[in-house]
Amino acid sequence: MNFFSLPRFVAIALKEFIQMRRDRLTFGMMVGVPLMQLVLFGFAINTDPKQMRTALRCSDEGPFARSVVRAMTASGYFQFTGRLPDDAAATRALELGEVQFVLHLPAGFERDLVRGRRPVVLLEADASDPAATSNAISALQTLAARALEHDLLGPLARPAMEGAAPFDLRIHRRYNPEGITQYNIVPGLMGVVLTMTMVIITALAITRERERGTMENLLSTPVHPLEVMLGKLVPYVLLGYIQVTLILCAAKFLFRVPVMGSVPLLLASVLVFIVANLSVGILFSTIAKNQLQAMQMAFFFFLPSILLSGFMFPFRGMPQWAQWLGEVLPLTHFLRVVRGILLKGNGPAEVVHHLWPIALFVVVVVSLGLKRYRRTLD
């Protein structure tokens, strides 16, 4: 038969198997990527985040206050991490993203409860990511009515108030009162796009030189490795800024995302983040033997970045180990920076708080990269 020859087909298939076996890294990735996806989607990601950090701002501590806290903890959604001395501390904790909620119990809370005066209880929520807070808030609303049913017994249980909560629960959704998902996603997209393009593009730019053999020529000239690196990176930094500008314009004019903080501050922080991604790209290029491998490694980095950083799923909803992993990734911190500046109006002090982990990441990755960088061909 002339259309299809079995031996010819076998020849091609055999060759392909041999090549596959030679390329260990690709083979590893073929196994590694699905494993990673299984672990991340199966164990780390949780669309119904629980155990969210909640601070207590309590002016009147007593048995009723303790019951409310206990009932909220028992719901599984809230995890009380500490007490705040004043309202300024509460605002700061929310701005830094240290807590998701602050529960305010007013002065005279116990007395007013006993007298049946329905004291006002305020729950301040960092609602910049509506997905993270909405379930907890609705759980609290149903829980409020029953939270004190064991405490307010006998004469204290007012028949008139059957069914209604003994206190007046008010929810204050800060930073994104209408719960618009785009407010959270669009700024986050800036970080995701930068991660994806910057890592891939640098990893490829350098492995391409090695794959095509132009590296040999370059290395035989007096050019210094630092000149090669910087010369290769600067055009991509500019490219990154074009992307940032595009997304920023779209955020403001298309999606009407509020811009509470300073844009120059955001542009300055972006540089740190771009450098972090470029350094990852360079590190990959020192390991990868060809462009395909570089691409796969970039993907391997991109996957956890997008899943564990709090871009797609609420960060606090993940198990502790996943949060620790997420804390290593620059995107996690950059998301806090960009959302902090745009939605919360964060200033330099808060931004630095999130930037230093990225800077630390750069230092580690660059030193690894320099260690692996081959100045010669061997």
Binding site: L219, T221, L377
Partner: protein
């Protein structure tokens, strides 16, 4: 051909000793010592995989030798490769320019890297000398194989290096361009520029002032063409006419014949001892062939060297 000056008489451009390099435990350059005088055209020959490219890479600092020492243009090959790189033009065996840059852009890039003071002029002159001024906007990737070699050669000479390391510069280049190339090399040599060139072509080897022959990482012979031929101590006869094919098979088994090589319509029969060789060909004297005593050619010498070289990969 200009009279070759002795390599030891003048100042050395390359002087190395005991240079050794291995890849994953396999020695591919084994204790090579070499001295090339300034302005000399030095040919570097050897079978495929003998370590020529590896040796050139060590000279210009692309690879670090496992052991050995020496100088290149007076700079230490181990510690001063930055100085060496400024003064050396290295032409790689494989095309290593940017295929998606035009000819002019490639040359301009190299000129910038070397920081040439009058870059534009250098690029223009280089293009003119290459005879490609009219096609300077063509992408390098679209050039034919031979033209790529010529572009690479032009590029490695743009910064007027003192030493040229050329790795098979004329492979795949047409005869006219090769002749132009060698004329240019001799002009450069007259200006005092040193050229170390690898080649597999015998006619090119004969155009060099001095030669080195390397096989399986070891330097086997060094000197002028005459030195190398004498070194092998070959005697050669040529046979023409008659059934050369049968003669060839018969002679190969004979005692005293070390190699039988067909050259066109003639057979080169060589042996290391003139007397035994004559005895060996005696029985075939009257088979209708025309026998003539001949000077062994460089090619006979190289084939003999290659045959003697111990293949350390076997």
């Amino acid at each position: 051909m200009t009279a070759p000056l002795s390599g030891t008489a003048r100042q050395a451009a390359i002087e190395v000793e005991g240079v050794t390099n291995s890849f994953s435990g396999r020695v591919v350059v084994d204790r090579i010592a070499m001295r090339v005088g300034r302005g000399e055209i030095f040919g570097f020959l050897g079978p495929n995989g003998s370590g020529k490219t590896t040796f050139l890479r060590m000279l210009c600092g692309l690879l670090t030798p496992d052991s050995g020492s020496g100088t290149c243009l007076g700079f230490d090959i181990l510690s001063q490769s930055a100085e060496i790189k400024k003064r050396v033009g290295y032409m790689t065996q494989k095309f290593s320019f940017y295929e998606n840059l035009s000819l002019e852009e490639n040359l301009d890039f190299i000129a910038r890297i070397y920081g040439l003071p009058d870059r534009r002029r250098a690029v223009r002159e280089s293009l003119e000398q290459l005879g490609m001024a009219g096609r300077k906007h063509q992408l390098a990737g679209q050039l034919s194989g031979g033209w790529k070699r010529r572009l690479a050669l032009a590029a490695c000479m743009i910064h007027q290096p003192e030493l040229l390391l050329l790795d098979e510069p004329t492979a795949g280049v047409d005869p006219k361009a090769r002749r132009d190339f060698w004329e240019q090399i001799h002009e450069l040599s007259a200006q005092g520029i040193t050229v170390l060139v690898t080649t597999h072509y015998m006619d090119e080897a004969e155009r060099c002032h001095r030669l080195a022959y390397i096989a399986y990482g070891s330097l086997l012979a060094e000197g002028t063409t005459g030195d190398i031929i004498r070194h092998t101590r070959l005697s050669t006869w040529t046979a023409s006419g008659g059934d050369l094919h049968a003669l060839c098979s018969a002679l190969e088994k004979s005692e005293g014949v070390s190699q039988v090589v067909p050259f066109g319509n003639a057979l080169h029969v060589s042996g290391h001892d003139a007397a035994t060789l004559e005895l060996a060909i005696e029985p075939f004297r009257h088979g209708g062939h025309i026998w003539q005593r001949a000077e062994p050619s460089l090619e006979d010498a190289f084939i003999s060297l290659m045959g003697e070289a111990k293949d350390n990969f076997q």
